[in-house]
């Protein structure tokens, strides 16, 4: 995507070159209260979505794992225990504030030694070809300006046989659930954002960005187009969230 092309920032149309800065501002603003807001917004269910992602990764001792848009390090913390001292987990995030919160949280929790922190753009991942056994990106892909480019970048650095896991908000399976979810995310989320993080706009962006994100089948076709051999997905909590699992041939 060229810099003068137009893309979405929530429902707003912005220049591609502008989106990254706008998204960065959102995450600088919410970083400090990110975990608390996630627990409140999802009623703690985001922990189960992440758990299922880790279980689907089939990570094993000694593996190299990249946690893109790793934020406050929920996945990295679990992966660090699984891969052990012979393995390596890299927590990457484009946003320095989120990375700092994640690094502090992990270090304070005694998780160190096999974890590295890298500030990186998912579209241009600074790692060698065929390097990682597993790559995860949880609630991060919808914020990326050029998703196709990011998926190609992930494909390049994944080892043959390695797996990519994309955990992201998606399209509810039933219309009724969709309507309830719309009411919740467009009315209640900004109020909660204002009350807890003193930032209604960022949570309005969250709701809008979810609606603009590709649905399950579209994302699957994008993953396959990026070069992955196979891609399947599981809808979770009625499709509010979907986990796409892709294998590199």
């Amino acid at each position: 995507m060229k810099n003068d092309e137009v893309t979405h920032f929530g429902y707003e149309k912005v220049a591609a070159s502008e989106k990254a800065n706008r998204v960065a501002d959102v995450f600088h603003s919410v970083a400090a209260k990110y975990d608390l807001m996630n627990d409140l917004m999802s009623g703690g269910v985001h922990r189960l979505w992440k758990r299922f992602t880790i279980e689907s990764s089939a990570a094993r001792s000694g593996q190299k794992i990249l946690d893109i848009a790793g934020g406050t390090g929920d996945l990295t913390a679990k992966f660090s225990k699984i891969v052990g001292s012979s393995g390596k987990v890299i927590l990457a995030d484009i946003n320095s504030s989120m990375l700092k919160v994640g690094r502090d949280k992990l270090l304070n929790g005694g998780i160190a030694g096999n974890v590295d922190f890298v500030q990186a753009d998912a579209q241009y991942l600074p790692f060698p070809d065929n390097f990682f056994d597993c790559i995860t990106i949880a609630f991060g892909l919808r914020n990326v300006t050029d998703k196709d480019l990011a998926l190609q970048s992930m494909h390049r650095i994944l080892k043959p046989g390695g797996r990519l896991l994309i955990l992201e908000f998606s399209k509810p399976e039933s219309d009724t659930l969709g309507k309830i979810y719309d009411e919740y995310s467009f009315r209640l989320l900004p109020i909660m954002g204002k009350a807890i993080a003193n930032d209604a706009d960022s949570y309005r962006y969250l709701a809008e960005s979810i609606r603009m994100h590709p649905d399950q089948e579209t994302l699957k076709s994008m993953v396959l187009k990026a070069g992955f051999d196979r891609c399947d997905y599981h809808n979770m909590t009625g499709g509010i969230v979907a986990l796409h699992k892709a294998i590199k041939a």
């Binding site: 299922f52 000694g62 699984i82 599981h234 809808n235």
Partner: protein, 214 residues
């Protein structure tokens, strides 16, 4: 019916936490688990399309449930137990032998044996666990109550078998004594073999008669 994976994650989380919390009060088992560090086993239920994963990490256990089966996931495990739910339940609860159990085993069978031995010797210090969770004031009377209840249940269950059999034999005259039953069984067997022989002779005679008429 398709079950939401969020539910599977909740189940595995709850089991894993309970199991590892309990193991905190069994240092012996934890020491044995350390020897299995990095090893994994999978239980595949074919008729439910479910994969239960067990990964041994240092002195704890990580559980997982996957609602899909694929060769890549299975190949990652050191040992795989695979079969229908009923066969797996029978194997785990009753049978000790895999032969004719309907369950297929692939990989390191030795790991399965090690896990079985560890499970057999689990000895969780429940008193210590209750003490930690409830504190001294609540835990002491509860431990006393549980110990007395356990003793009572054990005594009752040991005596009940004898009481019930004596009641059936002597009081209600519904049942037979072991020796009487043995004699009765022998007589039934003898009658059965006589009738079998008689039936065979009748068949033979019938065949002869049919031959003459033709």
């Amino acid at each position: 019916m398709r079950i939401d994976p969020t539910f599977y994650a909740l189940i595995s989380e709850a089991f894993e936490k309970s199991l590892n919390d309990a193991l905190q009060y069994d240092p012996g088992t934890r020491a044995k688990l350390r020897e299995l560090d990095g090893r994994s086993l999978a239980i595949v239920i074919d008729n439910m399309n479910l994969l239960f994963g067990v990964l041994f990490q240092n002195d704890s256990i990580q559980l997982s449930i996957q609602p899909e089966l694929n060769d890549e996931d299975l190949a990652l495990n050191d040992v795989v137990l695979r079969g229908e739910l009923s066969d797996l339940v029978t194997l785990i609860s009753k049978k000790h032998s895999l032969a004719n159990s309907g369950v297929e085993v692939r990989g390191r069978v030795g790991l399965l044996e090690s896990v079985q031995n560890i499970a057999k010797d689990i000895e969780i210090d429940w008193e210590d666990a209750l003490y930690d969770k409830l504190g001294p004031i609540l835990s002491q009377p509860l431990i006393m109550f549980l110990k007395q209840s356990y003793r009572y249940v054990k005594e009752v269950s040991a005596n009940s078998k004898q009481i019930v059999s004596e009641y059936i034999e002597h009081e209600s005259e519904l049942g037979l004594h072991r020796e009487e039953f043995k004699l009765f069984s022998e007589q039934v067997d003898s009658v059965r073999s006589h009738t079998d022989r008689l039936q065979a002779r009748l068949r033979k005679l019938q065949a002869k008669m049919e031959q003459r008429h033709s």
